[in-house]
Symmetry: C2
Subunit: 194 residues, 2 copies
């Protein structure tokens, strides 16, 4: 499947779209290749693009007060990667978006996205629903981060993203769960001995 | 200002709306009065309504694994209060929505809200933008909860919501910050002695 076919399949989940409309929709997207360890966005920069991941994997993270990286989420194929706060408000980003593998994304600028709402109003519905889904994900993330034990958070993660666990190293997963990698390794040992 | 005037003022921030459209929009909203300590939603129930607060104050909270209440956010006048996960997916709620003061809300059911997107497509834009704003708020909340010290979280809160601090007791604010009220009282003492 090409990058654009993947995007089309993703959109079709939200709204029916004709060939002509899809052409309009994608006219201002372009493909970016990001090598492993390269950044799509760095803290302090303004998030210029919203990116649809067609290949690879990114970590979206911020630095806590001790300077440790805390991972907000991972974005793999068919996920969108962006600092929405920086993108919408065009203010300096608090997030970093780094490729964990050689990756490819389709990107659109804020200017072009805003124009799209005018020329193709049906994308309002699409992004309204997408934003809703992201809100649900964020809400679950907050509840899980603040209200559940690390054991439970780990189990939820591997149940929800079994394929992703294989692609991440222990350090990355620990930074997502908000624990040290030593502690993650203890949890894993404990659970596997059950 | 009446309840509906407040709602109209809120909507006008997102989209221009005519009198006729506003009538269409509000046809399926109705007013609910909730007494202090009463619940708009209880954990385990399905969130039937999205609520626009016109008077009073709610705490939206969940119980962590120790059974302590952790506050996700407060909703006062012109905020929307809902468990979006439960409302969208019509699954049992993980959240409680409790009135901290005698309150009033304008509510709409999922059925009527879904119908509204069909009869008045411009509300797609409105809720797309509203969802975007909520996403930004959630993202900041996650970054703040996981990445910042309690002192800083407290200072951010009183800077951002000075009026709200006056309406909350120490316990409520501590439950929002994710700390004990003894610890909050220490922070307050420390900061006031500076």
């Amino acid at each position: 499947m090409t990058d654009f076919e993947l995007l089309r399949k993703n959109i079709a989940q939200y709204i029916p779209i004709t060939d002509t409309e899809f052409e309009q929709f994608t006219a201002h997207f372009h493909l970016k290749k990001i090598k492993k360890k390269e950044f799509l966005l760095r803290e302090g920069d303004i998030c210029k693009y919203e990116a649809f991941v067609t290949k690879g994997c990114f970590r979206i993270y911020y630095s806590n007060e001790n300077g440790d990286a805390q991972i907000l989420y991972f974005a793999t194929e068919t996920w969108w990667a962006t600092d929405i706060d920086s993108f919408i408000n065009q203010r300096p980003s608090t997030l970093n978006i780094e490729a964990l593998e050689d990756s490819e994304v389709l990107v659109i600028s804020k200017l072009h996205k805003d124009a799209l709402y005018e020329t193709l109003p049906k994308v309002e519905k699409m992004f309204r629903i997408m934003n809703q889904k992201s809100l649900v994900t964020f809400q679950r993330r907050v509840i899980s981060s603040l209200g559940k034990t690390a054991d439970k958070r780990y189990l939820e993660f591997i149940e929800k993203y079994p394929e992703l666990e294989q692609r991440l190293n222990q350090q990355q997963l620990a930074a997502y769960l908000g624990i040290s990698h030593e502690f993650l390794s203890k949890i894993r040992k404990k659970l596997s001995s059950r």
